[in-house]
Symmetry: C2
């Protein structure tokens, strides 16, 4: 084990910490960098994270630190921060990052203010680096507990994607490589919209057949959106879009799903979106994606229905009726 860590993870949340465990279990040193000094000191001293299982302490190879100086030696820097915090985090740390470091985004979403994909945000804030996106179905607790997990890591350079897959995979944590950075990000972001729709179906008591059909037809929308933005429909039918959607839409651990269930049970959208309420990322993504679908003529009836419900322009029953009464069509067009 070398003295200095070659891998750094910015963001000591549950997911970033779980990734640090995977990397360290393979005998690699990893720095887990956070801003909150007290929280970081607690993690470093206790070898435990407040949101992760207590029976799986951090391996010795993980150093939790609030000192960004450690970033200098890292050839791989992962950003495991919420999507809306990515730009600010990049600005805070960019002078500390080595010129040839590969950057990896672990967040899922679209920047609300700009409507940009997170890889664009990072390219703009820290130019000149390879930027990869890591996404897919992986609960941090499952990863830490060594339950089998698979995700996708995408980078425009196939060699770089393969290298990252090798360096970041673990015994029970398998990373598939891809060159479709757009598709992987679209899968990760737009599945939140479909998770809200699945929540509505559940909250309104529409049945398991309806939910399954919604996931399949939602996936068709993700595929069309990906194709229109330089991504591949097959990518969103993989771990990042479909796999993550299945995980989100069948688990009540998801905030987007719970948001949809509340809507389906009759809660008013404006109450759910009031300031101070927990953020459902998909609510923002729905609006941005619906606007993009409108202006780019992408057929996305479910996304547009979710956006219309959130804006109060359509009732849930009205949305269902509209979806069922669309002209009959081919499955793939």
């Amino acid at each position: 084990m070398s003295d200095r860590a070659d891998i750094a993870i910015i963001g000591a949340g549950a997911f970033g910490t779980a990734l640090a465990c995977v990397v360290a279990r393979r005998g690699q040193r990893v720095d887990l960098v956070g801003r909150n000094k007290q929280k970081i000191a607690d993690i470093e001293a206790s070898r435990l994270h407040p949101f992760l299982p207590r029976d799986a302490p951090l391996p010795a190879g993980v150093s939790a630190t609030a000192d960004p100086a450690c970033l200098q030696t890292a050839s791989i820097v992962l950003f495991a921060v919420p999507s809306q915090a990515l730009r600010e985090t990049a600005r805070d740390y960019r002078t500390r990052i080595a010129d040839d470091a590969a950057l990896v985004i672990c967040a899922k979403g679209i920047e609300q203010e700009s409507g940009r994909f997170l890889s664009d945000v990072l390219h703009r804030e820290i130019p000149g680096h390879d930027v990869a996106a890591l996404s897919g179905p992986g609960f941090a607790a499952d990863i830490v507990r060594r339950l089998p997990t698979a995700m996708t890591i995408a980078c425009s350079s196939p060699d770089q994607a393969a290298m990252l897959s090798q360096r970041l995979s673990g015994e029970t944590f398998r990373l598939y490589s891809s060159t479709d950075v757009a598709g992987v990000q679209i899968g990760g972001a737009l599945k939140n919209v479909m998770a809200i729709a699945c929540g509505v179906v559940e909250g309104r008591g529409l049945g398991e057949s309806a939910r399954a059909a919604l996931i399949a037809r939602g996936l068709a929308e993700l595929g069309r959106f990906a194709a229109a933005h330089g991504g591949r429909p097959q990518t969103v039918a993989g771990l990042s879009g479909l796999g993550d959607l299945v995980l989100t839409a069948t688990s009540h651990q998801s905030r987007n799903m719970r948001f949809g269930v509340a809507l389906g049970q009759g809660e008013a959208p404006q109450n759910l979106l009031a300031p101070g309420k927990p953020l459902a990322e998909g609510a923002y993504t729905a609006r941005i994606a619906a606007q993009m679908a409108d202006s780019e003529n992408i057929v996305m009836p479910i996304t547009q229905a979710v956006a219309a419900i959130l804006d109060g322009a359509l009732s849930i029953d009205g949305a269902i009726e509209a979806l069922m009464n669309r002209p009959l069509t081919t499955e793939i067009d």
Copy 2:
């Protein structure tokens, strides 16, 4: 409403009866043809089916009958019988069916004895007809209760597929048309294998992330199998493969899922496969598909793991280890 029914459904099980309700609710007459005279007489008299909700009686347009003479006037004949009974049913009724009738298969599976797709079976037993396949996520009870449901109907002729979609769709039952008869059948048959695998994951306590990854990677196998058999990978990522898999793999109503859960909990395969035990279609499909994958060089590690577990050639933990230790690869190859 014309005097004679133009649509006939052979097989008065829950699904066939649910379809009859959809068709009759739109003002079309439909004959529901079964062999068991007492059961058919009970359905006709009570307007209820023993496996369907009692608050949704059969509409007046449905005639349940054991007399195959009614088939003569039907321009659309649906076969809603179990896949292993299709050949015999076709032989029993073929002389009664009009020469220009379109035939629709509602069963999902591969004929065990021959390893053939059901459309092949029907083409051989009743030559000279258009054969369509109807598949996707639709519980009969959900359909009868008018909950939103969507499925796919595939026929090699796009006009015929569109006609069938128009004739058989209902207000809350939406049929998407497709020309990919192979893909739709492969989706319907192979999803049962993945449902067993998902059951194993659940029975063994491997977590929700593992199940989601399995569904995504299983879908990649279905896509490769479809491509090798003249189908389209996009089709199995639609209602018939993916949608149906999501429904099956997240619901304990599925026999295949329950079979997998029992395996995962340590039940011996030979006990579960003993004569007299309820049939898990996917157990047979797994073996046939694994053999085909072997001889045709299709990469299907999950299908082969399920087949090896059923044959006692691999333990569940051995299968998981083998799946996780495969060389790291790209997501789409």
